[in-house]
Amino acid sequence: MIHDILLAPFALGFMRRALAGCLALSVAAPPLGLFLVLRRMSLMADVLQHGVLPGIAIGATIAGLSIWAMGLGGVLAGVAVALLAGWLSRRTGGREDSQLAGVYLLALALGVTLISAQRGIDLTHLLFGNVLAVDDTALFAMAGVAAVTLPVLALIWRPLIMESLDPGFMAATGGNGGLWHLTFLALVVLCVVAGFVALGTLMSVGLMMLPAIAARHWSATLGGQTRASVFLAVLASYAGLLLSYHAELPAGPAIVLTAGGLWLGSLAFGPHHSLIRPA
């Protein structure tokens, strides 16, 4: 009985591949989400997940539904949007959030228009993803993103902490804060594109942000929050896929809903800064 509910679904090849892809994403993306939250850049995740769509659309226009073409287009568009957002906030001083909102609405509309101009590409597939259709190529792409993200994040871990905590101290010890910030944003773009494969462009940062936001309620140190965020993301991937299988729900939304449920539970009952234990 328990075996039927918890394990048997993963005897199916497409369920196993979906789980493997989501686990790769769950290990790599939440620590990045944590730094986005700590650097008060949560909105950037939304901007990037919409910002990559025009690039994905152009990739699909040129080469059809190829993971590599769409992925490359998405990464290029994401980097362009990240640079544009940084430049806008420096040039215009403050009010960054309103400009970011403008950028991502524009990018979403542009992407949807580009895709709709193509015949034979299913818009809902790109917007909502289809993790159960992950093939070997997509799986390798997601695993590759995780394999690049983790070591690079480990390398820039200390500069990122210093820059987030005390930018002046970073500059005083001879570090170039901008370089680490851009490296960090490049990793975020990679994970957003990997998330797009599984969860579609409208929810690609679901596994990046929701576990990261929830982790704050589980630990008061960065190391503890990182472990908590990865654990919650892994749990959401596994439980979400099971929910999708047994309740016959679309897999992407089921995973993000599960992650959202874990966040609400953490917000209410977590040991730190939660509703039952404020401050």
Partner: protein, 227 residues
């Protein structure tokens, strides 16, 4: 530990479009403790940042005698730091070594770190997250970090403005100890009495009428001008 003097030559600094320091010349000698006084917006923070190489110089120059960035330690106003960041006191203090070790080499030195925390008056709080400290305790953590930076030139921005009397007394003792070791110390202050009691040198920033020299002289002139 005798660093070269820090020499300002006809230094002009701007904050945005506004000139906050105009044609300022003088020297901070090693082993001296200088109070940096002036109204809000007079350019105290801007000057400290310029000496640390963190603020562009509009005209003139600052000669630090070839000190590396790690040779000049800055203690920022605590309002500039993110005190909600999930990090322990021990880790904040340990990061003080980064200037000497570089960004990527190991900085594990638990004994020095805990000793610095104890010397700053926070024994036993090494594992506490900084979000659960009072302003005074947090300022002590930053002083402990500065101990591990072990820099010959120390620039402090309003270190006593948000702390209680007992903390201020302890931190002042640490400053005096640093000075006795021959370090160059420049401290932005807003408390004239504190400057008069503890700082032999004073640089008073007041637009065109800057004054620089022994505290007794500078503050007398300042009072005469104000009268």
């Amino acid at each position: 530990m005798t660093p070269p003097p820090i020499i300002l030559n006809h230094l002009t600094l701007q904050h945005g479009a506004q000139t906050v320091i105009r044609d300022l010349s003088g020297r901070f000698e090693p082993g001296t403790m200088t109070a940096l006084l002036g109204a809000n917006g007079a350019g105290k923070t801007t000057l400290l940042r310029a000496i640390a190489g963190q603020h562009p110089i509009a005209a003139g120059n600052i000669d630090t005698g070839g000190l590396t960035p790690a040779g000049i330690a800055v203690l920022p106003q605590i309002s500039e730091l993110d005190r909600g960041f999930p990090i322990t006191c021990r880790d904040v203090v340990a990061l003080g070594q980064t200037g000497r070790t570089g960004l990527f080499r190991s900085i594990s030195a638990p004994r020095e770190t805990d000793a610095a925390l104890a010397a700053a008056g926070l024994p036993g709080l090494a594992a506490r997250p900084i979000g659960r400290l009072s302003s005074g305790q947090f300022q002590r953590v930053l002083f402990a970090r500065m101990m591990l930076q072990d820099a010959p030139v120390l620039l402090l921005d309003e270190p006593f403005s948000a702390v209680d009397t007992a903390t201020a007394r302890d931190l002042i003792a640490i400053l005096a100890n640093w000075r006795a070791q021959g370090r160059t110390i420049v401290t932005a202050l807003h408390d004239l009495e504190l400057a008069r009691e503890l700082f032999p040198q004073t640089l008073l920033l007041a637009g065109q009428a800057t004054a620089w020299g022994p505290t007794a002289t500078v503050l007398t002139e300042a009072h005469r001008q104000a009268a």
